[in-house]
């Protein structure tokens, strides 16, 4: 059955970036661009990759949709469900745990009202996600939001500063291949 929903399309800037990336691999190995293109898709379409977006990725790479599904479900960075405007990825592995990641998680749940692994906070701003080692153990505890690392979040002040900065972001920061950041995430509100 034909879907009546509007099919997602990459922006012109994203299309150009995807073509630049595809040239990095042998011509018959376009599938190699899978992960970089999924990252672009996630940035373009509100922080997650819906089945329709994954179909678009398959289309762009000239491969079958199943080849995208099996990859997007393997790697933890790709969100397969809608998310809030900011996804807070809290590192929970040993070295962060030694420096207070469990307390940090509890604190973030308390302040934002969202639960780890659950839906976004009621205001649609924050999704909380626990992740494994972010390779910044000497600066623990750590939260990653998109391409930004927030480190040494072991004081209420540091946590508040991070949340205030995120609350003040109207659009996500622009990526190098974009003119401006995109506001697609707001479209969920």
């Amino acid at each position: 059955m034909e879907s009546t929903a509007v099919k997602p399309q990459f922006s012109e800037a994203a299309k150009a970036e995807i073509e630049r990336i595809c040239k990095q691999y042998p011509e018959d190995r376009r599938k190699s661009a899978m992960l970089p293109v999924l990252h672009i898709a996630q940035a373009e379409f509100g922080g997650w990759v819906s089945p329709e977006v994954q179909d678009l990725v398959a289309d762009v790479l000239g491969i079958k949709p199943i080849e995208v599904y099996e990859v997007s479900s393997f790697y933890t960075m790709f969100n397969l469900k809608p998310v809030g405007k900011h996804v807070l990825e809290i590192c929970r592995t040993g070295p962060c745990m030694l420096r207070g990641s469990e307390e940090l998680t509890a604190q973030l749940e308390r302040i934002t009202g969202a639960k780890v692994g659950g839906p976004a906070s009621e205001d649609g701003l924050f999704t909380l996600k626990e992740v494994e080692c972010l390779a910044a153990c000497g600066f623990a505890p750590i939260v990653q939001v998109r391409e930004q690392y927030y480190e040494q979040l072991d004081t209420p002040e540091a946590v508040d500063a991070m949340l205030a900065e995120l609350r003040n972001q109207v659009h996500r920061p622009a990526l190098p291949w974009e003119e401006t950041g995109l506001s697609n995430a707001l479209a969920n509100n």
């Binding site: 970089p36 592995t93 040993g94 030694l98 080692c133 390779a135 153990c137 000497g138």
Partner: protein, 446 residues
Amino acid sequence: MGRKLLTEHINVEGIEKLDVYRKHGGYRSVEKALKTMTPDEVVEEVKKSGLRGRGGAGFPTGLKWSFLAKPEGVPRYLVCNADESEPGTFKDRELMSKLPHLLIEGMITGSYALGANTSYIYIRGELLYVLRILEKAIAEAYAAGFLGKNILGSGYDLDLYVHPGGGAYICGEETALLESLEGKRGNPRNKPPFPAVQGLYARPTVVNNVESIAAVPVIVNEGGDEYAKIGVGKSTGTKLFSACGHLNKPGIYEIELGLPVEEFIYSDEYCGGIWKGRDLKAVVAGGSSVPILPKELILKTAAGEDRLMTYESLSDGGFVTGTMLGSGGFIAMDETTNIVRNTWSFSRFYHHESCGQCSPCREGTGWLEKVLHRLVHGHGQMHDIDLLVSVAKQIEGNTICPLGEAAAWPVAAAVRHFRDEFEWHVTHPQEATKPGAIFPGKLVTA
């Protein structure tokens, strides 16, 4: 104060830019190699240096290079493993974000030695911001004629690209990394064939850690013999240690191999001792997968000698009383640390990161996590402790890749050295599961 071969200029203002990097001696190895040396001569210097893979396995880099198959007319690849994900390890992130040109220089000189005309840096997806830094630096290197066609008029061509992962520890395993680079799930491949024969796109491929490749410029500039003079025995050169956990000064330290562990932990030049004036309880010296050692055994070997930061000294005593240097991810735990809880955290990590291909790992890591969860939450029984050891043993050696061992060793070692504390969780569940509970038994101290 030891020599800093990699990080001497890491804090120089603007060192991430090509002109500043060149002012501090950057790209000399490219000029020297491409203009005055044959590729085989470069390989020979790396062999002589005794450099051992800095990602964790410690396999001699020059030897690995010499295994590369070179069939006529078939492209070959150098792939840099920048998928730094071993808990406790954060040295490559620092190196790449602050000294991007050092890695690029190493990639050029290394690719020349191996005869690769296309090379990739596979960086973990979480470090997309570092990918941006590397891409900027690569663009500068192209503009300056260090990349592209006919580099420095030598006739040698090289294209260098950065490729992001998607969040999967397993992609640090070299064949999983290659699968991932081909756009697939990161399932490790059966070996043989080894990547040296059939790697990326089934072509001959060398995969090296960031820090190994970053050591190539100094080896080419100063000569393998000079490099080998630093260090002790078969542990040559300098190594980056990333220190974390309960230390006064966690961070990245480049040391000459051979430094006593005690000096590394307590000297103000390095970690500055244990935080909050507390006593040290245990150390995981080489990333989460190596065996944990109690204070007495990390400072001294079983024979009573000073434990040194070398491949040999850290593994002295085998797994009974020793550990491994691994990736240099140095995790210190103070006297208040709950070892059982910490072991559970690591097991949860390995269970989460198992690719699921081999049943001993897929099921075994789940068992380890579940049994440890039980113990940590006060529902464990005495026989659970032996069950942990038994499951660990059945994973070990029965999987395609070393993630099985990486999951099994930390659990087996924790039970080996801290059995009392595991038993306390069974005999005193209410006490042991209180937040902040501290094991009251004999602290293992020197």
